[in-house]
Homo-oligomer: 164 residues x 4
């Protein structure tokens, strides 16, 4: 059983055609699992629906608390990409023991159809969470990064190693 | 560096609007890597473009030969799902040493847009090939299966363990 | 009020991922009207779900009967493209009076996402049926054709005038 | 020959995955004509790429000038929906003679895939411009409206008659 925690981010944003703004409605995760024809047992819980630029320490503590409390030792967290590394770092120092926690996100909302990277990222994050040893990881761009050796390049939008 | 071998299958099929039949043109793999914003180094080679129902022993030997000959020890093979397990089994007995070979496919062509499972499968297959120990694996439905413990359920289209 | 008769054709085909064949389930018309944000009053009736290559004279008579019987004088018929002109010709000789009947179809199934012409064809067919004078018309490729001056070019898939 | 003038609007907006903002790159009109398999002769010119909320009188004069100067008497203008009616009204009072001018837009960007209404609107606008008598019209929601009997309902996003 894989525990999935939804926290929002670009991954789950929608376009509001009245205001022209992006916003959150429900998560797309369940329909993505169905479309991916996944036969993994998953327990999906939406903890919050926020843009990672607006994520505060109390939000991060909610994520950490739920990771500690979860009965499952494989945990996938969807998250906005701008502060994804900060949350990974927070989780690494919050007393989560013997669990593999993978954080992933998307650069283009899943709802925007065939241009989004989200479905690919979900596939790779689910795979990595099943086989990586306990620890906190970021999964983006087809790769996994230990939490303490990754940054988002603000110019290109790619995730890269600190010494890359 | 990940070696990618394309062999066809539903994954890469297109709809011919003149005849109403499915057919092969070029592989979608490169554009899928771009859309997935993958920063993995990959070497993509199209070995053939065939429906797996029409795949013969000489086709399988071409795949095996190229797996043995590849300079890379992480190999991803895209393949039709109907005979994917047979090819995995062939590869397991063809003298490939110290390499991780992952076979994946799709139930719905990538070209058919937001209904296809292909992009998700590519994400998970790429992840698994990076971290699984040497051997021959099938990746479908978000999971990996060792080549000798998997079958395709012809009724549901899902892959499952032999003793499942 | 616009009367819409669904008869099948490529327009409404789906991909069966078990058999790899195309088949019919429900029509996509209602969800297409919603996505197009249409505020037209429409009455959608599915008369049959057949490939136009398999359409027989009794099927055409069902369409003609329903066109004659409809209380509305603006009628849109979705139809397979291969025999669309034959059905238009049949309708023209079946005693439909003082009604504008527009037949349209698609070269690529609507279900195949961003490659399909179906949504564009629906938009133009709905527009033409509102403003053309009574008669039987074929709408494809952004244009309308009177029933007795159109053929489908089997090589290109485009509809063209007989003297074109 | 149909003259097409592109002015921007939601129709042609893209998502910038670095900033999370919508922006303009190139128009999608040519690829939309191709996907719609249109065989109409069209002359597509991009006059500007602006959000209609930022459209000023000098922009409207550019559109009017080009409508007057065009050698063609069937003109399609793509435009943001928020001020589409204002531009239609401006054009009606700018000395365009014996020409059918149709303005259309989209509530959801065409680039956002299978949720956008843009492709449907393009199909209906192209149809209406071919058959309506000279004048200035707004085409949205599957319908045409004379310029002086239409408003955008800001709450629902639907276009409706003034006396509706």
């Amino acid at each position: 059983m894989i525990q999935v925690f939804v926290t929002g981010g670009t991954f789950d944003k929608e376009y509001n055609y009245i205001t022209g703004q992006l916003f959150f409605k429900d998560t797309h995760l369940p329909s993505m699992f169905e479309r991916g024809r996944s036969t993994l047992e998953v327990d999906v819980k939406t903890l919050m629906m926020v843009d990672s630029l607006e994520m505060r320490e109390e939000d991060r503590e909610i994520i950490a608390f739920n990771c500690r409390r979860s009965l499952h030792d494989k945990i996938l967290v969807t998250h906005g990409t701008d502060r994804l590394v900060e949350t990974a770092s927070y989780l690494a120092q919050s007393g989560i023991k013997d669990k593999t926690v993978v954080l992933t996100g998307a650069m283009i909302p899943y709802a925007f159809g065939t241009s989004s990277d989200g479905f690919f990222n979900l596939g790779s994050a689910l795979a990595f969470v099943q086989v990586l040893t306990p620890g906190i990881y970021v999964v983006m761009n087809g790769r996994f990064f230990p939490w303490d050796n990754v940054r988002k390049n603000k110019k290109t939008g790619f995730f890269e190693e600190l010494n890359g």
